[in-house]
């Protein structure tokens, strides 16, 4: 089961098999990314399942997942490769003992033996039988110089190491980039990718996700939770709850043995769903009770 899907429908079906409920648009983009061997650039609010796509793809295609978490100041040494200075030092001492000439030493010292491979170089290692899934997570957290470095990796799937030469992947890895959009990613990066904006799901899809991700959830509770969260997303909040929060919240409610929503239990667990004090203050109390009421009737209607 490690071949790539044959059509858009097939992609959607196989994602679903692995508990990822994708809408048609997403399935299309994923299928194209696999078929055209293009990186996939996913942008969207936090907690809408961007990272999860990469994980699911790795499982679905039975490939290794290599994850690169971005942060400010991320540089070549931690993203692609670093020379093993300790071993190089040792080699120099040994060379002195054995009387190896300068030229030979210089050639030896920056050979592949002394290279520590990090995520990017691992992903394009030509020795690999099966290309892995490379997840470059939260690219917006890295700084612009790093984006510039990525360009070579994304368009040619190769990395040039000055001392060693160019390393090129035998088969391109499946690359997924995600961004929470705390800043704009440069067009040069986007140009090399297929772009998709991951939306919050509609009620039907969110319910489906919940039933898949939280096995054993009571039907009533799931419906009410979804209606509640959907309603919450219509309110002017600073940070809207994502699907990840919905799932967490449902798990929390199940831990508290809640079978239906009631204002009290909502009050106590609101912190799982909303992460800003102002948002919590806004929803707490009578507002929460009103949304619960609304959610119950909406859920009852089906």
């Amino acid at each position: 089961m490690s071949e790539i899907p044959q059509s858009i429908d097939d992609t959607a079906a196989r994602l679903l098999e692995h508990d990822y409920v994708a809408d048609r648009q997403l399935a299309t983009v994923v299928y194209l990314a696999l078929k055209l061997q293009r990186p996939l650039f996913l942008e969207g609010e936090p907690g809408t399942g961007k990272t999860e796509i990469a994980r699911t793809l790795a499982r679905l295609l039975d490939r290794e997942l290599i994850r690169l978490q971005c942060y400010e100041g991320l540089d070549l040494n931690s993203a692609a490769y670093e020379w093993n200075y300790g071993r190089q030092m040792m080699e120099i001492r040994l060379a002195e003992k054995e009387g190896i000439g300068r030229e030979a030493l210089a050639a030896e010292l920056f050979g592949e033996r002394f290279l520590n491979k990090r995520a990017l170089l691992q992903a394009i290692d030509p020795a690999r039988a099966l290309p892995p899934v490379l997840l470059i997570d939260e690219l917006d957290r890295a700084d612009e110089p790093f984006e510039a470095f990525l360009l070579e990796v994304l368009s040619d799937f190769q990395i040039t190491i000055p001392e060693l030469g160019t390393v090129k992947a035998a088969t391109p890895p499946i690359v997924v980039l995600t961004s929470n959009r705390t800043r704009e990613i440069h067009d040069a990066v986007k140009r090399r990718c297929l772009y998709h904006w991951v939306e919050f799901p509609d009620a039907a899809r969110e319910l489906q996700i919940l039933q898949r991700r939280v096995p054993g959830v009571a039907d009533d509770l799931a419906r009410q939770v979804v209606a509640f969260v959907q309603r919450l997303r219509e309110i002017e909040l600073y940070k809207l709850p994502g699907i990840a929060e919905t799932i967490e919240w449902t798990r929390a409610l199940m831990q508290l043995d809640a079978f239906v929503l009631d204002p009290r239990v909502v009050q106590d667990t609101l912190g799982v769903l909303l992460k800003y004090q102002d948002d919590i203050a806004r929803v707490q109390g009578s507002e929460a009770a009103r949304i619960v009421e609304h959610a119950r009737t909406a859920a009852a209607r089906g």
Partner: protein, 405 residues
């Protein structure tokens, strides 16, 4: 181009034209993207219009703001049975312009892209008036006077000269330490890679140790300018100032607000400050209108703060703070703004009055949440602002770490 012949029927051609329409409407659609779309269409195995839409948007779209424009263009372009006629119209703008039915224009930019105006309708832009005036025309004392002159009461001539003086302002920024390194000449962190390279070259001899030090960069700056009636002249000069900062290698985001908030960063990119500021004035409808500070700050906090502030930005807020409505909300929004930036500088032209007292409720509720409260009504005060930005003597205590020398 290679895929054109292989595309099914006229589809390839149409996709190409569609790409051109999008480009004319202002989306960055290069020919590489169009090629990609054609490739994708061949492998996708389409089942109806929705897939077609999905494929094209995946290949031609680059950012979410463009989606609405894209959807409208898609609707317009692929719905029309008389596609060929329209295509001809598109290619021969002179013939169609009069009798072709104008579409219900969802979007002016789009309409212009689909039906480009006839070239002769556009008068050639008047050549910019060139002025060759020497700076020496200003005597020292005239300069001094100009430094202290209020922007609002300047004559047109003085205004121009003030602009020129402003452009000569030397801008420096407080260096912020980044986590990225560069080579250094003095001991700090050892640069093992460079050191070992020299060692290898010299047969294993430790020739000299190489060093690295952290790189610095200026803090990002966000300008929020009030352009309501009472503020418009000051804000105009501040936009010139923002333009200057942006071209002195700081990262500048600018917004103007009156009754609503408008992002003007892109408009200020033009090299010529006059053209840049004129662009802003043209793009904003509420120039010199009323002001709704609270609503605009709320919108900034909700929609933009997370994207442009990134925790260490310096915010220059220029407004007189004369908010008429409820001030409780204003306090809240100011507090939030204050918390999400590194330094909040409030530039208030009302400070030009010697005996200024913060009596108005709006001003009183905003004051506790700013790090600095400075005047910005003449060149001298802008000079002070520059000095403050350069020194980086922070009003707020630094959370951790040492200040760089």
């Amino acid at each position: 181009m290679l895929p054109l012949q292989q595309g099914p029927g006229h589809l390839a051609e149409n996709v190409m034209h569609f790409g051109r329409v999008l480009r004319a409407a202002g989306m960055p659609v290069g020919s590489d993207r169009i090629q990609l779309a054609l490739q994708a269409l061949r492998v996708a195995g389409l089942q109806g219009r929705r897939d077609f839409h999905a494929v094209l948007s995946a290949c031609l779209l680059g950012r979410i703001e463009h989606r609405e424009l894209f959807d409208q263009a898609f609707e317009l372009f692929w719905r029309d049975p008389d596609l060929e006629g329209r295509m001809r119209a598109l290619l021969l703008p002179k013939v169609q312009a009069r009798d072709a039915p104008q579409p219900a224009a969802e979007n002016r930019r789009l309409a212009e892209a689909l039906f480009p105006p006839r070239p002769q309708e556009l008068p050639p832009p008047p050549p910019p008036a060139q002025e060759f005036e020497l700076d020496a025309t200003l005597t020292f004392s005239a300069r001094e006077q100009l430094q202290k002159a209020d922007f609002e009461t300047m004559s047109a001539d003085e205004w121009r000269q003030a602009q020129r003086l402003l452009a000569q302002l030397r801008v420096a920024f407080e260096p912020l330490r980044t986590r990225r390194g560069k080579r250094a000449n003095h001991p700090g962190r050892p640069d093992w890679r460079a050191t070992l390279q020299t060692m290898a070259r010299h047969g294993g001899e430790l020739w000299n140790l190489r060093w690295r030090q952290p790189r610095t960069r200026p803090p990002p700056i966000v300008v929020l300018a009030d352009i309501s009636g009472s503020m418009s002249r000051y804000s105009r000069m501040l936009l010139h100032f923002a333009h200057l900062l942006g071209h002195a290698d700081a990262q500048v985001e600018s917004f103007v607000f009156g009754t609503r908030l408008t992002r003007t960063t892109r408009l200020l990119k033009s090299r010529d400050p006059d053209i840049a500021v004129a662009e802003v004035v043209r793009a904003v409808d509420d120039w010199s209108g009323g002001t709704r500070i609270t609503a605009c700050l709320r919108e900034f906090n909700r929609r933009w703060a997370r994207r442009v502030l990134s925790g260490n930005a310096t915010v220059l807020l220029i407004t007189d703070g004369l908010e008429s409505g409820e001030v409780g909300e204003l306090t809240f929004e100011m507090q939030r703004l204050h918390k999400s930036c590194r330094e909040l500088v409030w530039l208030n032209p009302l400070l030009r009055f010697a005996g200024f007292q913060p009596r108005a409720a709006g001003i009183r509720s905003m004051l506790p949440h700013v790090d600095r409260f400075m005047p910005a009504h003449n060149l001298e005060s802008l000079g002070e602002l520059v000095a403050v930005l350069a020194r980086g003597t922070r009003a707020r205590p630094r959370a951790r770490g040492k200040r760089l020398p």
